[in-house]
Amino acid sequence: MIRVVLPHHLRTLAHVGAEVLLDVEGVATQHLVLDALEARYPVLRGTIRDHVTRKRRPFVRFFACLEDVSHEPPDAPLPDAVASGAEPFYVIGAIAGG
C-alpha cells in the first residue's frame, strides 16, 4: 500500500483524514499514485495537477523521504520506502511567503 499525506484543504474537500492508503499496480510513480488517488477521490481531479496535461499545479509540491521530488520525472519510480509504505508520499501546498 502507498501512503499519501494530503494538505489540509484537500483533506476537507475529499473528506479524508491525515493519510490515505492506495493500491498502486506495478512500479509506483508520481503519475500512478495520483491516478489512483484521483480514481478513489474524483473531487481531487484538477486540484493537484491539470485535468488535461496532468502537469503539477504551480504551487503544489511533492515530497518523499525528506526530499522534494516535485521536479522528478512523473513516470520515474518513487523511492522504495514510499513504494513499500514505510514512508508516505506528501502532497504539499507551497509556502506562499508573506
Partner: protein, 371 residues
Amino acid sequence: MSEVRVLVGTRKGAFVLTSDGNRRRWDINGPFFAGWEIYHIKGSKVDPNRIYASQCSGWFGQQIQRSNDGGKTWEPVGNQFVYDGVPGTHMWYDGTPHPWEFKRVWHLEPSLTDPDTVYAGVEDAALFRSTDGGTSWHELAGLRRHGTGSKWQPGAGGMGLHTILLDPSHPDRMFIAISAAGTFRTDDAGKTWRPINRGLHSQYIPDPNAEVGHCVHRIAMHPARPGVLYMQKHWDVMRSDDAGDLWHEVSGNLPTDFGFVIDVHAHEPETIYVVPIKSDSEHFVPDGKLRVYRSRTGGNDWEPLAKGLPERDCYVNVLRDAMAVDSLDSCGVYFGTTGGQVYASADAGDSWTAIVRDFPAVMSVEVQTLP
C-alpha cells in the same frame, strides 16, 4: 412571512445570512469552504434551494459547489473548464499574443427557467454553460471567436468575464461584460456575439471609437425593462436605452465616477445605486466616508445615502459583485466591503445597519427573497 437569504462570498469562505421579512435580526451560517476564495455564490430563481458557488484557491484551483437545500449542505460538482478547440491567443499586458489559460470562475448565473442550467464567466475571459447542474461545462465559444477576442487585454485584476445578464423577455438574449474588453450581446442564445461599446470613452484608449478595450466593471438591468442597461465603467457611470447599442454618461453630480458596483431597485427601474470609489489609484471610498449614492432618475441626479454608514476613517472598497437587492415591498439593498462588513438597508437605502462587521474581505453578495 417572507424570508431573506443573503449569500456572501469572501476571501476565506462563504456565509449564508438569513432573516425574516423585517430584516432586523440575522442568523449567520458558515464559513462554508473555509479558507477558500469564494468569488461568487448565487441561487436559482426557479428553485431557490439550488445554489451554486465558485470556490477557488491559488494552490488547488477551481471547484464548483452545489447546494440543493438552500445552502445548508453542499456537494462539489464539475470543475473542468476546457476551452473549445484550439484556444488561440489574446493580447498580453505588453501587447504580445498570449495563450488563453483558465484561471478561475468569477461569476455564476443560474438560468431563469431551469435550475440545472447555469452559466459561468471565467478568467481568462470566456463563457461556459452547464445543463446538468454544474457537473459538466461547455464553452459558448462564439464569444471568443466573434472577431475581437485576439485584441482583448487583461486589466490589473485579470481578464475576467464578470457579469452575465439574462434577458427575461428575450430568452435568447444575453449580455456579458469583461475586464478589460467591454460589453457584448448575443441574440441567439450564445451562438454569435457582438461588442456593444459605442459611446464608451476611456482615457487610456487612443482610438475614440475603439470597439473593444474598455474596462467595464459591472452592468445591471431591471428585469421589467431589459432594454435599459446601466454600467459602472472603470471611470464613468453609463446608461443605454437600446440594449447596449449606444451608451451615454449619467455620472452627473457624483463626487467621483470611479467604482465597481451598480444595481437597480427591485420595483423602480429608474432607481439605481453605486458606491463611488476615490480613484483607480486609490481603491477606497472618498474622504474616509462610506456612502452609497442613489439616483431616482436613472442617473445624472444622485443623492448620498449615509445614515448608518461610517462617516470617518473608512477606507474600504466595494467589489463589483458585492451589491444586491431583495424584492420585498420595501426594497432591501445589501452590499459587502473589502473590510468584511455586510450592510443592509430595509428602506431602499435611506438607512443602513451592519449585519456583520468582521468577515473576511467580501467578494460577492447575492440575495434571495423567499416566500
